[in-house]
């Protein structure tokens, strides 16, 4: 069996499962964000469910519209706070502890190897980076699992992507996953689990693995996963809130597709508007003028991402015609970035640095694009209207490319500004 099949079997109380089989599984952790929890609360009322299945196995994280962006948001957040209190949910990340859920859960040791995690957000596939099975659902499904503590799942077939070679300078997990999505397309992994492995992957730290699993959904994947190794375990040991289990794919595990990627010599990758699979090497779009550069989102606003952006921006200024917005992914990361002097580097470069939030990523607030504006973003989606006006355009790239592009005022490879 694959690691995915083993985790699903264990949570369905079965010795083995097969791709295509329907199971009822019991999750170890259920995540709701501000928006999906608000939706789920309404559905829970209609379901007649007064109590959640287990408050200890639930994490509620405010990320999309926090700090309240308008009156409607304020009322929504207020309603969720009250419900969280009534239900006695301890793992609650309100303003002051808040951040993007997909970064908070691993960071706070709530997403662990071998776990089955259900999240009320499509990028819940991120937690696969710690060797968990994790997938996103809508708010009605979220309500169902909050009420019953179980969920039906179809066991996905697995796709194996193996990464060979050595990473060049400024090449990150983002480039590997963009290259992968560019190759297989935005439905290349539809209904399937994406397993990432190989000698190049083994050299990547948790931050890069989180970025890769985060974007499994951009290939249509149900989940993304990296089997635990020493990198995973040393990350997890520092923060785990509960015991965990390590699973590995068997040597004779079955895959529906296998892809091999040679990383040596790879150029930074950029996804052009209007799809994350519209991927080219940075050199093909270099020189494209930019109105805004956004360093943020659950994909690339981790401490490591900010450190890389700061290395490029140190002592430099963002181009006069280009707005630079930096939004660290979590409160812990924000504090750490403050202590390390990263926020100062951004501020001196002329960036608008915000408290953690999804903000500009989904065109919600804190950096929405106007008609015809062009943005380079470290986030994960660039569909029509994603970041604002339907005629605005977004390019997706890693934080090094973002920082270099902010300095040049147009899309640029990192080495161009050093």
């Amino acid at each position: 069996m694959t690691i995915t099949e083993k985790i699903l079997a264990a949570h369905a109380g079965k010795a083995a499962v097969e791709p295509g089989e329907f199971i009822v599984a019991r999750p170890d952790m259920v995540m709701g964000n501000d928006l999906s929890t608000a939706g789920a609360i309404g559905v829970l009322r209609k379901m007649g469910a007064a109590k959640v299945f287990d408050p200890e196995k639930i994490a509620i994280v405010f990320d999309h519209i926090v700090p309240a962006r308008d009156i409607q948001a304020a009322d929504l957040l207020k309603g969720v706070r009250q419900w969280v209190r009534e239900q006695g949910i301890r793992h609650f990340f309100d303003e002051g502890r808040h951040g993007i859920a997909h970064i908070i859960l691993p960071e706070q040791g709530l997403a662990l190897p071998g776990n089955l995690i259900i999240g009320g957000d499509s990028h819940s596939c991120t937690y696969g980076a710690v060797g968990a099975f994790s997938t996103g659902v809508g708010h009605t499904d979220l309500a169902g699992v909050l009420a019953l503590g179980e969920i039906w799942l179809k066991v996905p077939a697995s796709i194996k992507s193996t990464y060979h070679g050595t990473l060049g300078p400024w090449i990150m997990g983002k480039d590997l996953i963009l290259a992968t999505i560019g190759k297989i397309g935005i439905d290349g992994a539809l209904y399937q689990a994406m397993e990432f492995r190989g000698p190049a992957l083994a050299t990547l730290g948790m931050s890069e693995r989180l970025t890769m699993c985060n974007m499994a959904i951009e290939a249509g994947g149900k989940s993304g996963i990296v089997a635990p190794d020493e990198v995973t375990l040393s990350y997890v040991r520092e923060r785990a809130t509960r015991p965990w289990t390590v699973y590995q794919s068997d040597p004779d595990a079955r895959y529906v597709a296998e892809y091999d990627f040679e990383i040596t010599g790879m150029r930074p990758q950029v996804a052009k508007p209007f799809s994350p699979d519209n991927v080219v090497p940075v050199d093909e779009v270099a020189g494209t003028p930019l109105d805004q550069v956004f360093i943020g989102s659950c994909t690339n606003a981790k401490l490591e991402d900010l450190r890389i952006a700061a290395r490029i921006l140190r002592g430099k200024k963002a181009h006069a015609g280009t707005r630079l917005i930096v939004i660290p992914a979590s409160t812990w990361i924000w504090n750490q970035a403050l202590k390390e002097g990263l926020l100062e580097i951004f501020a001196e470069a002329g960036a608008a640095v915000s408290t953690p939030t999804c903000g500009a990523c989904f065109g919600g607030h804190t950096g929405v694009l106007g008609a015809g504006e062009v943005c380079l973003s470290t986030s994960n989606r660039n569909f029509v209207g994603r970041m604002g006006h339907p005629t605005a355009q977004s390019y997706l790239a890693n934080p090094a490319v973002a920082a270099a592009s902010a300095i040049k005022g147009c899309i640029a490879a990192p080495e161009e500004v050093l």
């Binding site: 939706g39 007649g48 809508g138 169902g144 439905d187 249509g220």
Partner: protein, 164 residues
């Protein structure tokens, strides 16, 4: 029996165009219904009528997990959506809230905009009344058929919880 006029869309119609992010904090489906498909065709909500059917290309509903996408389509009164494949979260959400979706590559390829189409959810039979052709959608597994027959996830959970 569901019967309506067809509106056609291409491949990979994503949730950002079905229901842009600015409407995300609105949880009342009736409030968001007029804005469906705004990212592709800002006038769709004015042109289409309740009961109309959407026929689209592969991977319909890809992108975010927002239920304002299927929720808005349902609240508007879209009768059914026919596509070769659906993005998985969209498919789950649609089944959970009782928005009829059918996977049928042949029907999705043949049926033209403006055709009048009839759909029988119980059997998965699709009839293009304009051309007279019939198609068979891939049947849902028994597990999902039960959920659909129960009227979606809310009645299903009520029953499980023993709520009258």
């Amino acid at each position: 029996m569901i019967r309506g006029r067809v509106w056609k869309f291409g491949d990979d119609v994503n949730t950002d165009v079905i229901m842009p992010g600015k409407y995300l904090a609105m949880h009342d489906p009736a409030e968001i219904a007029p804005y469906i498909m705004e990212g592709i065709d800002p006038d769709f909500g004015k042109k289409a009528k309740p009961g109309d059917i959407i026929v689209a290309g592969k991977n319909f509903g890809c992108g975010s997990s927002r239920e304002t996408a299927p929720g808005g389509l349902k609240a508007f009164g879209i009768g059914a959506i026919i596509a070769p494949t659906f993005a998985r979260i969209f498919l789950r959400n649609a089944v959970n809230i009782g928005l009829p979706v059918l996977e049928c590559p042949a029907a999705a390829a043949d049926i033209r905009e403006g055709d009048v189409v009839a759909v029988e959810m119980a059997t998965g039979r699709i009839t293009d009344e304009t051309t007279g052709r019939t198609y068979q959608a891939s049947p849902f597994p028994p597990f999902l058929q039960e959920l659909i027959a129960a009227g979606g996830l809310i009645p299903y959970v009520r029953r499980r919880l023993g709520v009258a």
